[in-house]
């Protein structure tokens, strides 16, 4: 499965295009990345600060592990370090507006969790975690639907203007950021199924196939290829 297909699958599942996904946001104007004033985590390869705090990464790992848990055959999202992956992606690949939605969203998750359970997410039982994530799913869906509808109108009006504009005058359509839970879910699925654990344990991976068979016998329960 190529990465375009993975992005498509995630887009269909979450009802929203994947942020940072090529061809979807290809027209974005780059700005200086937003940097948290109080960063804790540093990217070892560049020495530059990453946006999320260690506590936020830990929370994301727990949330992601509820979405993609450890099962009999393979470890889950937390083991695949999906929280750390999200920190890299939000820092390097998200536009500032989406970075803000994401970090504000994390704070709102915690507020909602405290209001509902009087406990933070990490202290919830696994049944409570499941219910809480489902409540976010239910909140995100109509929220994103409304954005999608508004975006469609905005995009078509930009397209109309562009139709009569010269190439230099054309405006770029930048999709509105979706619900922060949708971002978390997208990054969970993307991060997990491109991780070594996701690719080699949850799915099957052969680095050097050496041959091609276009009619390999498939038995029920056989796993998908990871690429």
């Amino acid at each position: 499965m190529d990465r375009r297909e993975l992005l498509k699958t995630i887009a269909v599942l979450t009802g929203s295009v994947v942020i940072g996904g090529e061809l979807f946001l290809s027209g974005c104007k780059a700005k200086e990345p937003f940097v948290d004033t109080n960063p804790i985590i540093t990217d070892t390869s560049t020495g530059l600060p990453k946006i999320l705090t260690a506590a936020q990464v830990a929370l994301l790992n727990e949330m992601a592990d509820t979405i993609i848990p450890t099962t009999a055959d393979s470890p889950g999202a937390k083991a695949a370090k999906v929280g750390e992956f999200m920190n890299v992606m939000v820092t390097d690949c998200y536009l500032p507006a989406n970075q803000k939605i994401f970090t504000d969203g994390l704070a709102s998750f915690e507020t909602k969790c405290m209001a509902k359970y009087k406990k933070n997410f990490e202290s919830l039982s696994s049944a409570e975690r499941h219910d809480f994530i489902i409540s976010l799913e239910k909140e995100a869906k109509p929220f994103d639907k409304k954005i999608a509808e508004d975006d469609k109108i905005r995009e078509s009006s930009i397209n109309k203007e562009n139709d009569i504009a010269t190439w230099a005058q054309r405006k770029e359509f930048v999709p509105t950021g979706r619900h922060p839970y949708t971002m978390v879910k997208q990054l969970t699925l993307l991060g997990y199924f491109t991780s070594e654990i996701g690719m080699t344990k949850a799915r099957r991976h052969v680095s050097v196939p050496g041959k091609y068979d276009g009619a390999l016998a498939y038995n029920d329960g056989d796993k998908a290829w990871s690429e």
Binding site: E22, T66, I134, K211, A217
Partner: protein
């Protein structure tokens, strides 16, 4: 004293690599100049053996990448796995009177490292169409003259494909064909039977070798489908895997990197080139190299850029501009539309291995008795695969979601995407924009290119026919799409220094010689007089090998 060579080759991509190989094998002391850095075969393919999880952003784009590549970001070439192999748009800007997507590879091997590898011969009608239809000018060559040169380059490069005996898509010298998968075979059988074999679905012919070539130190394809990162097995044709080592083996080739050619040096008394002037990208010094002949293979539009900057004391518009056609007739292949749908009945089958090619449907429009309201035609590329992920109910997370996403989908999906011929229009042009300079202070190109009525009419068929063919082949949930096209996106830039029969209307003659300087040859995409609808690289290889053989003969005879 400047260094003296028999031949200078500007550029090291598909055309430049072939020129270097042919000229050095025929005994000429040859200098190949590359404007960018070296990428050594195998050693230089830094991402070739990485797994996806080893890419920090898992092959997605960072805002930094987007910011550095304001052109490349417009389509798929901007990604993490090939990052660094496409040039930096900020350092190499250009201007757009109309949108033109120019995706360039500034390093040894050029785009031969990142090409799609699809390899098709032109047919006899492709070379005749301009003359028959009164479009642009006639090609000065015909298929019969090209056929032996196609054979010659195919045997060396290694093209896998199936013999079909089609007039519209002549067979190459094939290595054993890669296999269609079960869903593709099913669609093929139904489609061909419905159209009584007037439309065919075949394996996409590609420059991936299916048998080892030990004499070239190349291993057969390992079905990793990571070609564009550079192949450690040398399993696809590139300058690095094939032509460069052959040229080096002769002892006649010198390769110089980081040398940006500024102009071809022209002697107005002898009416011949005497060499080239280059800018060293590292030392910023200019250097002259002398030679008896010059092969301009800098990629179509950059080859024309070099000509436009040459001999300007004689012709204001540069070498080859006396015809009024230099920089004109820009072509590409227009595409990004077609249809896809679901193939049912193969849930007990899957694929093993990642085949680096797909299916091909050769042109059938405006051939034989078919007549449409536009000229020329199109072919389809695509393929079928079994998708990943089972459907899940709304609000499913946890074990059920994980299992669904770890399983293949029940059905297979097939997609076909059309590639159409674009006519050569004089008004589709590039010119020098001296108000904008690149990193080295050199004037940039300005683009004024668009598709016109003929292409727009063709695009209706390109989309509708795809849906119709899939439907008659029993494909379900067929959906058409048009993802939009801007010239250049095909990365098949052609024209701007076309071949022809008359120096008044063409830049090059039938042997790729510049009419105004017969020891200068242009053999890359710039020389194309029309575009056909098939991928062009194989034709550049054949034209280059043919021109090189001719150049050496002429040199021996003292004619140039």
């Amino acid at each position: 004293m400047p260094e003296k060579y028999d031949a200078i080759v500007i550029g090291s991509g598909i055309a430049g690599g072939w020129a270097a190989k042919e000229l050095s094998e025929r005994g000429l002391k040859t200098l190949m100049l590359e404007r960018g850095k070296n990428i050594e075969h195998v050693k230089g393919y830094v991402n070739a053996n990485k797994e996806k999880w080893e890419f920090q952003h898992r092959d997605e784009r960072t805002q930094q990448m987007i910011s550095d590549h304001n052109v490349l970001k417009r389509d798929y070439p901007l990604n993490e796995q090939t990052y660094g192999m496409w040039e930096n748009d900020k350092q190499n800007p250009y201007t757009e009177t109309k949108r033109f997507d120019w995706y360039r590879g500034y390093h040894v091997g050029g785009r031969s490292l990142m090409w799609g590898r699809q390899s098709y011969r032109w047919n006899k009608w492709d070379f005749e169409a301009n003359a028959k239809e009164g479009i642009a000018v006639d090609w000065p060559i015909r298929y019969d003259e090209m056929a032996p040169w196609y054979s010659y380059v195919e045997k060396f490069a290694g093209i896998q494909g199936s013999k079909e005996g089609l007039e519209v898509l002549p067979d190459s010298e094939f290595l054993p064909a890669m296999e269609l998968n079960c869903a593709e075979k099913d669609v093929k059988q139904k489609l061909e039977s419905h159209y009584k074999n007037n439309r065919k679905m075949i394996i996409g012919r590609s420059a991936n070798i299916t048998e080892p070539k030990p004499e070239q130190n190349r291993t057969n394809c390992q079905y990793r489908d990571r070609c564009w990162r550079g192949c450690s097995y040398g399993a696809y044709f590139s300058t690095q895997s094939a032509t460069l080592p052959a040229a080096m083996k002769t002892g006649n080739l010198t390769l110089e990197t980081n040398k940006i050619v500024l102009r071809v040096l022209y002697d107005k008394n002898t009416k011949k080139a005497t060499g080239v002037e280059v800018l060293d990208a590292i030392t910023k010094k200019t250097i002259e190299y002398k030679s008896k002949i010059v092969f301009v293979c800098a990629s179509a539009l950059n080859s024309t850029w070099v000509l436009m900057n040459s001999a300007t004391d004689v012709w204001e518009g540069g070498l080859g501009s006396s015809s009024g056609e230099l920089g004109h007739n820009v072509m590409d292949h227009h595409f990004r539309l077609g249809a896809g749908g679901t193939v049912t009945g193969f849930s007990d089958k899957y694929e093993y291995g990642r085949r680096p090619t797909g299916i091909y449907i050769p042109r059938y429009r405006n051939v034989y008795d078919d007549k449409r309201d536009y000229l020329r035609g199109f072919g389809y590329q695509g393929g079928a695969g079994r998708g990943t992920g089972q459907e899940v109910a709304e609000f499913t997370i946890g074990e059920d979601l994980k299992k669904a996403l770890s399983s293949p989908s029940n059905d297979w999906y097939i997609n076909m995407s059309a590639f159409g011929e674009m006519l050569p229009y004089h008004e589709n042009k590039i010119k020098l924009d001296k108000t904008v300079k690149d990193k080295w202070g050199l004037p940039v190109l300005d683009f004024d290119v668009e598709i016109k009525e003929n292409e727009k009419r063709m695009r209706k068929d390109m989309m509708n026919d795809a849906a119709e063919m899939l439907t008659v082949a029993g494909v379900r949930d067929v959906k058409m799409y048009d993802a939009g096209y801007a010239p250049g996106m095909g990365i098949h830039e052609m024209g701007t220094a076309r071949m022809g029969r008359d120096p008044k209307t063409s830049v090059l003659n039938g042997n790729n010689q510049v009419w105004d300087a017969l020891n200068v040859f242009v053999t890359d995409g710039a020389c194309m007089t029309s575009a056909s609808c098939v991928n062009p690289s194989l034709t550049y290889m054949a034209l280059t090998a043919r021109a090189a053989a001719f150049a050496v003969e002429e040199l021996k005879k003292g004619n140039i």
